[in-house]
């Protein structure tokens, strides 16, 4: 007879109060990684926050006036200035002696590309702001165009795959290293496939004083071309291939990484996604590009020493699902 746990953990989990910063009923697509990631961030951050949100899907699908999905004070200004708006909020709160935490939300376009200057300035000036980048690796809100975050070889509408091109020609910008080079106290990556890790990193980021940065890998079923039911499994493959390493950096140094216990080939990650479909064709060009992608994943594994048999303390392997219940808090 197998031993039964003495307590019903599922029931306990359902009793755990959870702050819902974003209400259901918004207009995100099914399986939207960004909506999930934003919800997880606010669950961990709690209600005493002010959110500045860059232009993008998250802004659009949560605020069709006169409706709003937000249970926290929220302001959207423009695409490229969210870090500066958040910095302004932070200095005002400091001047007023208020302790509310300031979060800046942006997509990869608003972080890697058009919002990068304001972000760098905010980090340099040491504003006490948590900047969260929801990274879905292209301009999805405008209809899937390539960004500085789009992975090498990926199809988008402005990096199409055709007879002489195999998707994006350039590499994904190594943003975490660039951000961390500002010497900020805390910068980390996380994935929606590992929600307890993601939440722990939000708490850690809010614990430090000064600027902190989270790069959250957030699949976009529409833009990546995968089944909306596969958001979590696809993103787990992004981590298990080494293409998206899960890291923590403090003052420019890597201090922890989530180990890969079950390394997967990039072909397996590419298979369910339309954006990599051309790499799976039986042509020399496709094979070459897929090899490039594999080499990039291997380089990450080597650079961050990602392979290990040891269990990752925050790699719940799916046990901590995002579907668990929970009573409303507040």
């Amino acid at each position: 007879m197998s031993s039964q746990p003495s307590v019903d953990t599922t029931a306990l989990r359902k009793l755990q109060p959870r702050f819902s910063g974003i209400e259901s009923g918004h207009g995100a697509c099914q399986g939207c990684g960004q909506a999930l990631a934003a919800r997880l961030v606010l669950e961990a951050a709690g209600p005493d926050v002010i959110v500045a949100n860059a232009t993008g899907c998250l802004e659009i699908f949560t605020t069709p006036w006169p409706q709003s999905a937000w249970n926290v004070p929220w302001i959207h200004s423009l695409f490229e200035n969210v870090a500066a708006v958040a910095a302004g909020i932070e200095v005002a709160l400091r001047a007023q002696g208020r302790t509310t935490r300031v979060l800046a939300f942006a997509g990869d376009g608003g972080t890697f590309d058009i919002g990068f200057q304001a972000l760098s300035g905010m980090l340099e000036r040491n504003h006490d702001v948590l900047f969260v980048c929801f990274d879905n690796e292209a301009y999805m809100n405008t209809g899937i165009q390539r960004s500085g975050s789009t992975p090498h070889g990926a199809w988008t509408n402005t990096s199409p795959a055709g007879r002489v091109r195999q998707g994006k020609r350039h590499f994904k910008k190594d943003l975490l290293t660039i951000i961390s080079a500002h010497g900020i106290p805390y910068a980390a990556t996380a994935s929606v496939a590992y929600p307890s890790d993601l939440r722990a990193k939000v708490r850690r980021a809010l614990d430090v004083s000064g600027p902190s940065f989270l790069l959250l890998h957030s699949p976009c079923p529409l833009g990546w071309g995968h089944d909306s039911a596969q958001t979590i499994s696809v993103d787990r493959l992004a981590v298990e291939t080494g293409l998206f390493p899960i890291l923590e950096m403090e003052r420019g140094k890597v201090v922890s990484s989530m180990k890969i216990r079950n390394p997967r080939p990039v072909r397996e990650y590419a298979l369910p996604q339309f954006r990599f479909r051309h790499l799976l064709m039986d042509t020399p060009e496709a094979r070459e590009e897929l090899e490039h992608l594999q080499a990039l994943a291997d380089a990450n594994i080597e650079r961050y020493d990602l392979l290990s048999e040891a269990p990752g303390p925050r790699d719940s392997g799916g046990a901590d699902t995002v579907r668990r219940g929970g009573s409303r808090w507040g």
Partner: protein, 395 residues
């Protein structure tokens, strides 16, 4: 008590008297002295404020947007390319109805590059939804800066105080700085009705569908009617405290009964007034000083133009392919009003070109020679080596 102060120092001290909690700026000539002076006031403990030295004007405007939205009185200053770089944010601040005060140290816009004064920068953002007040001298710059905070906070419209670069910002004049008590009596502590607070989570800056967009824009336009009243009230109330006014929406001076008028904005008006006082105009002239460009005081302009047969409108900016910007709006305000004067539009003082007192008599003489509705005054194409090129204007 009057002190001899550089315009920028005086403006900085006026800002400090308004007790802003957040100042954000990026350096650009000729705005720098204002922000440097504020930085020194903060460093000396004379002003308790957060100075955010940002990495661009775009972020300067964004920081004050965030700070005012979070409930702090906020100030920034810029000029020229800086105003253009922040223009996207300027529209956004106004649309969000966030009260902010900005000093524009007016300067030409590149290209050709010029660090000197004209009004091309502020004119290029005239449709951004900011109140625009133009200052004729540094005393007006001081008083208008203080009034601007109250106007902005009562109307929830941002205010741009336009001060001619170098001509005013770098010029020493005797200035009567108000006492702190006078400013405190005039300007209550900052309170923003929609400030961001986790105790009352509001959503701001949302997506608005075609069903509601027109109504929201209409509200923004309607606020400028209130702004006219608040500009007049601020000038009246502050004037009662300090014993002088700054010209309300539009100042009318000179020979009220004259049939010829000259309208100017900014420091050129000071020169015009001097020329009138010292008899350089050679004939009776009604002087009009347009202080409020947004809201555009159409009714005040109609009243001030009554009895005029000719009105010379001076523009210090140019809409290439069209003409002077102020004059177009003056014409529009007077169109259809029975006895509207003939409007003769001269563009002067571009890129820091001096506008001497003698120039006005030349303009008045030109009036007699049936001048075109628009021309660039004080123009000498022969100065340019390519002056025979057919694309350049000839006399």
């Amino acid at each position: 008590m009057r002190d001899v102060l550089e315009g920028s120092q005086a403006i900085a001290r006026a800002v400090a008297l308004c007790r802003p909690q957040v100042v954000a700026a990026y350096p650009i000539t000729p705005q720098t002295h204002i922000v440097e002076a504020l930085a020194r006031l903060i460093a000396d403990g004379l002003l308790e404020a957060e100075l955010v030295s940002v990495e661009s004007e775009f972020s300067a405007a964004s920081v004050v947007l965030g700070a005012a939205s979070a409930g702090s009185r906020s100030y920034t200053a810029s000029a020229s390319q800086g105003i253009l770089l922040m223009s996207e944010v300027l529209y956004n601040i106004s649309g969000l109805r966030v009260p902010v005060v900005l000093t524009c140290a007016n300067r030409a816009v590149s290209s050709p590059v010029s660090i000197w004064n004209d009004h091309q920068d502020s004119m290029s953002v005239r449709d951004s939804g900011w109140i625009q007040l133009y200052c004729a001298d540094n005393q007006e710059a001081v008083d208008t800066t203080i009034q601007a905070f109250r106007i902005s906070e009562r109307t929830e419209l941002p205010v741009m105080v336009c001060v001619d670069g170098f001509t005013l910002t770098h010029t020493l004049e005797p200035i009567d700085l108000p006492e702190a008590g006078q400013v405190d009596a005039f300007l209550p502590p900052f309170r923003f009705s929609r400030s961001l607070s986790s105790a009352r989570p509001l959503t701001q800056g949302t997506l608005v569908s075609p069903e509601f967009f027109t109504e929201m824009r209409s509200l923004q336009h309607g606020a400028f009617d209130l702004a006219e009243q608040e500009i007049l009230a601020a000038d009246r109330d502050f004037g009662a405290l300090v014993g002088r006014d700054s010209g309300g929406l539009l100042r009318v001076e000179g020979d009220r009964e004259a049939t010829v008028g000259i309208l100017a904005m900014g420091s050129v008006y000071g020169t015009l007034k001097d020329a009138h006082r010292s008899g350089l105009l050679g004939r009776p002239v009604r002087l009009l000083c347009l202080r409020a460009f947004r809201p555009f005081p159409s009714r005040a302009i109609r009243e001030a133009s009554e009895g005029l047969s000719d009105l010379i409108v001076l523009d210090r900016s140019l809409s290439p392919g069209s003409g002077g910007i102020v004059a177009h709006e003056i014409r529009s305000a007077l169109y259809g009003s029975g006895r509207a004067p003939r409007i003769v539009n001269f563009v002067v003082g571009l890129g820091g070109r001096n506008v001497p007192g003698e120039i006005f008599q030349e303009m008045l003489e030109a009036l007699e020679k049936d001048p075109p509705a628009f021309s660039i005054f004080d123009l000498d194409p022969e100065k340019l080596p390519l002056s025979k090129d057919p694309v350049l204007p000839t006399s």
